[in-house]
Amino acid sequence: MALNRRLNLFGRYILACCLLVFFVFPIYWLFIISFKTPDEIFHFPPVWYPKNIQFANFSVLFKDGDAISVLNSLILAGTSTVIAMVFGTMCAYSLVRFKTGGENFAVWVISQRLMPPIAIIFPIFLLYVYLGWVDTYGGLIILYTAFNLPYVIWMMRGYIEDIPLELEESALVDGCSRWRVLWKVVFPMARTGLFATAVFTFVFAWNEFIFALVLTRTEVVTYTVQVTHYFGGQSNFWAKIAAMSALGTVPVFITVSLLQRFLVRGISMGAVKG
């Protein structure tokens, strides 16, 4: 009996290890390539672990100024996330408490998210050319905000619905204005949901590719677009691709790690009530 249980446990560990390798290996491979020399990258049989960890692939990105694209991504994703969160939460509050737009308005809002970006990229490009917004921070921030707002509204609506109305009414009687209620009651009560939604909003904007590809030239190129510059007609610059991809992965990795406890609770809350 005890032997059976031990075998069972052993089998589970083996399975867990296989799954871990399956999911983690591509990430490992991405990072490890960025530390390899060109010889090691193309060596056969593959070099599983480089003899000397070297940062030349990264330093060249900084030297050529390509690394600025990560900063561009950070500015665009960060700013659009903050704006979308502020306005989205206010909209969600209005939808929940004042029934703004009627019962089905929220569904209409989230339906905007269903539209494939490629379907509207051409008219937006023409509009942006006309407005002189192509290759500007403002242009992309507006676009990312517009695309993330429905998601924020939809998610925050669920979290705000969970806040007992009595808490807000008590604050109103105690001397708060609606704005103060939002700040002192709704935000703290929906804190978990706020963080979880903000992380996903940030990640969506961070990984966005198609708008950035079409609407940027040289000034506000994001890291996702920058990576494509290393795919050449004759050859691909694998070292740069890996190094830039690694640079682009780190901020998201750090963000998610820091906010992990909010993420898990936030997602499970949203799962129960959405």
Binding site: D174, C176, S177, R180, M189
Partner: protein, 361 residues
């Protein structure tokens, strides 16, 4: 301490007419209890006074000021909610201080007021705790403390004890009564529990279907209900109602029950109709003693159910086709199926019109 005057107040939610012309005057310092069954409009009336619902028609005056268009925060009222409405992310001190901080009160004043309220409610030792670390009774004390520190002109309570267990409810009821005696503030209290209403109120306002059925001092309403609904709502176990036909007996009248029993009726200037409902409270249906009153009515009935509660025993019997409860001293009163002789004094009976339900004086 302020008086409240409400006149011609109407409120609708969609197609539902929730308040149908409420007129109510509450003198300063009075403890008024709004009581009635679910959906009678009592909570809506309270919320309208608080400013959480808009006034559609009519006027609400607090201390002589029409507050119809004032926001809740400008009415200088404090409210205690059914589910305590404590902020889970703030400790007890900050929960109590919340309203004062919202009004930008100096820190020293906030501290002194919070400590005063905490001492009054016996929760000084809990000030650093979070709401989730408190019991139900402690949470309700914190909620009351939040109202006390405000020094508001009017206290509103929306079923504050309904989430507590029976023992704690009795305890908190006493505390709220003491609080009113100590502070002397005008209080309006909503409950569906008639015992809370009877024990706490200076004045009971009994509502049904968006209208006030009767208001007055608890014992006055209890003794002289305006109609059958009021009579049935106040009192536990509720009043027994027995339907019968009115028959002539020469110069007097009597009530003929469906089981053939007759009960003499007192003289009435307006006479009696064709049929009548007799109301008698369970505690007035007693085990027969030697006759002491000329008004006494004696009945011999079969015991159907016996419910001892310790101090008193409830006996279910059938009188004129109606299931009636008699509340007697706890003693050996027999078993179901046995006969028991009960009596009641007609002066304790209340008569109602069977159609309108109005009390016949």
């Amino acid at each position: 301490m302020s008086d409240v005057k409400i006149s011609g107040l109407h409120k609708t939610f969609g197609q539902v007419h929730v308040l149908k012309g409420i007129d109510l005057e509450i003198p300063a310092g009075e403890f008024t209890v709004l009581v009635g069954p679910s959906g009678c409009g009592k909570s809506t009336l309270l919320r309208t006074i608080a400013g959480l619902e808009e006034v559609e028609q009519g006027n609400i005056l607090i201390a002589g000021v029409n507050v119809n268009t004032l926001r809740p925060r400008d009415r200088n009222i404090a409210m205690v909610f059914q589910n305590y409405a404590l902020y889970p992310y703030l400790n007890v001190f900050e929960n109590i201080a919340f309203g004062l901080r919202a009004r930008k009160m100096p820190d020293s004043e906030v501290r002194s007021r919070v400590h005063f309220a905490a001492e009054m409610l016996g929760i000084t030792g809990l000030l650093d705790r979070l709401p989730r670390e408190l019991s139900g009774g402690q949470r309700q004390r914190v909620a009351i403390g939040r109202a006390i520190v405000r020094k508001a002109q009017l206290f509103l309570f929306d079923e504050p004890l309904s989430n507590l267990d029976a023992q704690l409810r009795d305890e908190m009821r006493g505390e709220i009564k003491r609080l009113h005696q100590d502070l002397g503030i005008t209080m309006i209290y909503v409950t569906h529990d008639q015992i809370e209403a009877m024990t706490l109120a200076d004045k009971i306002v009994l509502m049904r279907g968006g209208v006030i059925e009767q208001m007055g001092a608890p014992l006055t309403i209890y003794e002289r209900p305006a109609n059958r609904f009021v009579a049935g709502f106040l009192g536990s176990p509720k009043m027994n109602f027995i339907l019968g036909d009115v028959i002539n007996r020469g110069s007097s009248h009597a009530m003929l029950l469906t089981d053939g029993e007759t009960i003499p009726l007192p003289q009435r200037s307006g006479g009696w109709g064709q049929s009548i409902v007799l109301g008698i409270r369970p505690q007035h249906l007693e085990r027969s003693e030697p006759i002491t009153s000329v008004n006494e009515v004696r009945l011999k009935r079969t015991i159907e159910i016996v419910q001892p509660t310790g101090s008193r025993t409830y006996i279910t019997i059938n009188i004129g086709g109606a299931q009636c409860i008699a509340e007697t001293e706890s003693m050996e009163i027999g078993r179901p199926g046995e006969l028991i002789e009960l009596s009641f004094d007609l002066s304790h009976a209340v008569f109602f019109d069977p159609i309108s339900g109005a009390a016949l004086v």
